[in-house]
């Protein structure tokens, strides 16, 4: 795991300032989606060996939710962005 992560708001910060939630590739189903869709979302994980995107919270910093793209074998970090940029028409 990289020891420094570049937060788009705060710059290079120690990894320990962040809380890692989980896989950012999962898309939350609509509230009335089928049981099967909800099961997949809550329980199943792609769990890739290699490139992975995750939700990280900069809990001891700006407290923004971020998406960190990194490699689960080499721990190389490819990029960090604010979650807002993933939303429809997201700026930043």
């Amino acid at each position: 795991m990289a020891s420094l992560i570049t937060c788009p708001h705060c710059g290079r910060r120690p990894t320990q300032e962040f809380t890692i939630r989980s896989d950012a590739s999962l898309k939350r189903p609509a509230p009335d989606a089928s049981q099967a869709d909800w099961h997949d979302y809550v329980f199943l994980r792609p769990n890739p060996r290699g490139r992975h995107s995750e939700h990280w919270h900069h809990s001891a910093g700006c407290r923004r939710w971020l998406v960190v793209e990194r490699d689960t074998v080499t721990h190389e970090v490819y990029g960090v962005r604010d979650v807002v940029s993933d939303l429809a028409g997201g700026a930043r």
């Binding site: 795991m1 099961h39 994980r45 792609p46 769990n47 060996r49 074998v73 080499t74 721990h75």
Partner: protein, 417 residues
């Protein structure tokens, strides 16, 4: 197979130890097997052993991408126990403990099974009630459990910080039949026992593809060519998602790194296994004298068998909070293993949507203690197409059906054990 005994050691000593035969060979893969097991860790090897020994299979191969013992079976902290609460878990782990109790005679290998006890400390009234409940559940299942008060614990492990401000030690739940087993010897003993019954233990052979014909698996692509099989069984622990993906299966599992540590060799210091309530910290002493200890997973998806310094620091702090004298002990080595963390902390031993594909996965922090029962129950499933009685709850579709086996009652998170 050469039988090991005190007499054989004596005899070999007289003849310069030149007569020891290798414990298993290095066979070239055949073109077809009745059963192929992917993963030569503890579970894959014990499965092969029981398939051959108990269920009469002769034409079996274990394919291991590294060498025997290179995975978690040789990286764990060797603790065995059956102190589980839930009916879906307890009888299975108790079966495992019973198998441990007779294992060395059974496979004729010294695995140094040591029933030195496992003591879980409690630090509050609420935690005591919780442990009383767990102990009662164990006893209702016919498993030994004793709830100790502070003075009883003090007699066993006097040098702990009983008056720690945040985690005062009020007592503990003790399972005397729990303990430790030399992990490498378990892999070697099962490998030797399987090989001597005709199983091909094939090392440095990575499975890279699963070939099928409709809903049937017909064989595997490997780094040593295609190998056909009637039945395919996956037991690849931390790599379960990667291998299951070859068959188009997405699992309720994330891979995380768990670290462990060993200190310089000390004189006899701690003669049991103790767990501390600061999140998670546990410690025992190996027969070589090293203190063996560890804590929680680092907390991020990882396939790299190494961890982060933040967890090293946390584990060291936890250890010193529990046993202040540890501050003067030097750590010799640390390492990591990749854990197949299931979404309820319990394992999967089940069939899949493919007719002849079987899955063994989701062992979290606790699959070493399960090694004998996991192999036995998986072999049962492969041989008879029906789950062994104690492993009925370990279904792959239990999350879908609302039957998660959630020991901690914490909901779906891949950080339970």
């Amino acid at each position: 197979m050469m039988r090991y005994s005190a007499f054989s050691v004596f005899l070999q000593g007289l003849t310069g130890n030149k007569g020891w035969a290798s414990a298993w060979g290095s066979p070239t893969p055949k073109s077809h097997y009745d059963v192929i097991i992917v993963g030569g860790g503890g579970h894959g090897l014990s499965t092969a052993y029981y398939l051959a020994k108990t269920f009469g299979f002769r034409n079996v191969a274990v394919l291991e991408k590294g060498y025997v013992g290179s995975g978690n079976v040789g990286r764990n902290t060797t603790i065995i126990r059956s102190n589980y609460l839930l009916p879906g878990n307890n009888p299975f782990y108790e079966l495992s403990l019973k198998l441990w109790e007779g294992l060395e005679q059974d496979f004729n290998f010294n695995a140094m099974v040591s029933q030195r006890g496992v003591l879980n400390l409690y630090h509050s009234d609420g935690q005591r009630d919780d442990y009383a409940r767990r102990g009662n559940a164990m006893r209702l299942h016919g498993v030994d459990a004793e709830l100790l008060d502070r003075e009883q614990v003090r007699k066993m492990v006097p040098f702990m910080d009983f008056d720690n401000a945040r985690f005062p030690i009020q007592g503990g739940l003790l399972q005397r039949r729990g303990g430790t087993v030399r992990h490498d010897a378990v892999a070697w003993g099962y490998a030797r026992g399987a090989a001597s019954r005709g199983v091909d233990v094939i090392q440095h052979c990575e499975v890279t593809g699963i070939k099928r014909d409709g809903y049937r698996v017909i064989g595997v692509e490997t780094s040593r060519g295609f190998i056909g099989c009637d039945k395919l069984a996956l037991a690849t622990a931390g790599n379960s998602s990667v291998v299951a993906d070859l068959a188009g299966i997405r699992l309720p599992i994330e891979s995380h790194v768990l670290q462990a540590f060993v200190s310089e060799g000390l004189k006899p210091f701690i003669d049991t296994v103790v767990t501390f309530g600061v999140g998670h910290f546990y410690i025992s002493q190996s027969d070589k004298g090293g203190l063996v200890f560890g804590g929680d997973i680092d907390g991020y998806n990882s396939y790299a068998q190494r961890g982060n310094l933040a967890m090293v620091e946390h584990v060291a702090e936890a250890g010193v909070s529990m046993i202040p004298a540890l501050a003067r002990v030097r750590t010799l080595r640390s390492w990591g293993g990749i854990m197949d963390m299931s979404m309820d902390g319990s394992p999967i031993i089940d069939r899949t949507h493919l007719d002849n594909l079987y899955l063994n996965a989701g062992w979290c922090y606790g699959g070493f203690k399960a090694t004998p029962a996991s192999g036995y129950c998986f072999a049962h499933l492969i041989a008879r197409n029906e789950p062994q009685e104690t492993a009925r709850a370990f279904r792959l579709d239990r999350f879908e059906r609302g039957y998660a086996i959630d020991e901690r009652g914490a909901g779906p998170m891949p950080n339970l054990h």
